[in-house]
Symmetry: C2
Subunit: 229 residues, 2 copies
């Protein structure tokens, strides 16, 4: 019997922020195994041309699948880890490279309105439907990564629109980390790190117009940003 | 043409500490591709029984390979990330799950004395031979993980013997991080975290006998342990 390579897939945990709730995007699964359950967007890595264009890496596979299945390119995408084993997929021994994708609500909501995805609370109490494969575990792992990186980086800003208020950013960190941050301290640390660029006055919402900021780059490290996340 | 799954391997970056130098263990590669070069210990994940006993996960594959090829079980093993692409292995599209393994010098040195492995400096100036595949990149990624985790965890202790002096531990952190730590501060943070267990007085070496410590568990998180690693 010739040796068969294991199955290699990617699965993407898309998180966004809706009205002070952290939510994950799921898709309906139509095919076996697990037909009728909800699933993370994901699929096979294309390692040979019989499946179509060959992926340059698992990260490119994740971007291709998000584009093909959802028509969507996330504001931030990073590899979390690889889950694997003989029983997680009834079709055979499989490894899935798990990705964390973050994006503002309006764009993810458009996918929901188009019937392509549904949004579910993950925090503080998860309210998830029955999930295919070990996707519940994959969501938990992606959440742990988001929390870990929130303590020392600007990652949380990718849950907001490209231009945001410092207040919105602080509240997003508080939500992800389950902490209460001192307003002045948070502002000072964020501005001292030179992580943000002031853009325009934001009007709308309650209160006076406020300074709008955008990220200077994808991720900036800020040591000791949040304690106890 | 039937779709072929990509190649799935694991590669393990074994690091240890020898006379104040951080060193990586390499093996000679005898087979093509890259015969004659040095390589990280690694191999195929066994996803079906034609190759032998089926691995329970990529982590179990890494442990199996370390045992089979080196007769060795590391003090600490963790998954770093998965490197992948169409050209990194001339045999086909491949993904390798990269692991970081840490162990005390005496045991790794026994592998060297037995002719199974060789040790090479990685820090501060790498002195590596010509390496098979993209193993130089994999070593860099594992080093980056070690440094990142050194800032907030007891991971560095796994480079030392099971029982060590606080001075040895501090010097190991200084070496990994390229910093100079205040002796009293380091001691205070390490003991306050309840990460260590006092064991016995250690004699030998220079100076008076010193308190010996061992890790209470594999990894303990200590916020703000090292700054600027």
């Amino acid at each position: 019997m010739q040796y068969q390579n294991p199955i290699l897939t990617v699965d993407i945990v898309i998180l966004t922020l809706q009205d002070g709730r952290l939510r994950v995007a799921l898709m309906p699964r139509h095919e076996e195994p697990f037909a009728g359950l909800a699933m993370l967007p994901g699929g096979y890595v294309h390692g040979d041309s019989s499946a179509g264009k060959v992926d340059k890496s698992t990260t490119h596979a994740a971007l291709r699948i998000l584009k093909q299945k959802l028509g969507f390119a996330p504001s931030h995408l990073e590899q979390v880890y690889t889950e694997s084993g003989p029983t997680r997929d009834p079709r055979g021994w499989s490894a899935s490279v798990v990705y964390l994708a973050l994006h503002e609500f309006a764009v993810v909501d458009a996918l929901v309105q188009a019937g392509k995805a549904s949004l579910h609370d993950v925090h503080p109490q998860p309210s998830l439907p029955a999930l295919a494969f070990d996707h519940k575990l994959l969501i938990q792992s992606a959440l742990a990564r988001l929390k870990a990186k929130a303590t020392y980086s600007t990652i949380v800003a990718h849950l907001l629109p490209p231009v945001f208020r410092l207040t919105d950013l602080r509240q997003a960190y508080e939500l992800v980390c389950g902490t209460t941050e001192n307003k002045a301290n948070f502002r000072r640390k964020m501005l001292a790190a030179n992580a943000l660029v002031a853009t325009e006055l934001l009007t709308g919402g309650v209160g006076r117009p406020a300074e709008g900021y955008r990220l200077r780059e994808d991720l900036v490290t800020i040591e000791g940003l949040i304690s106890g996340c």
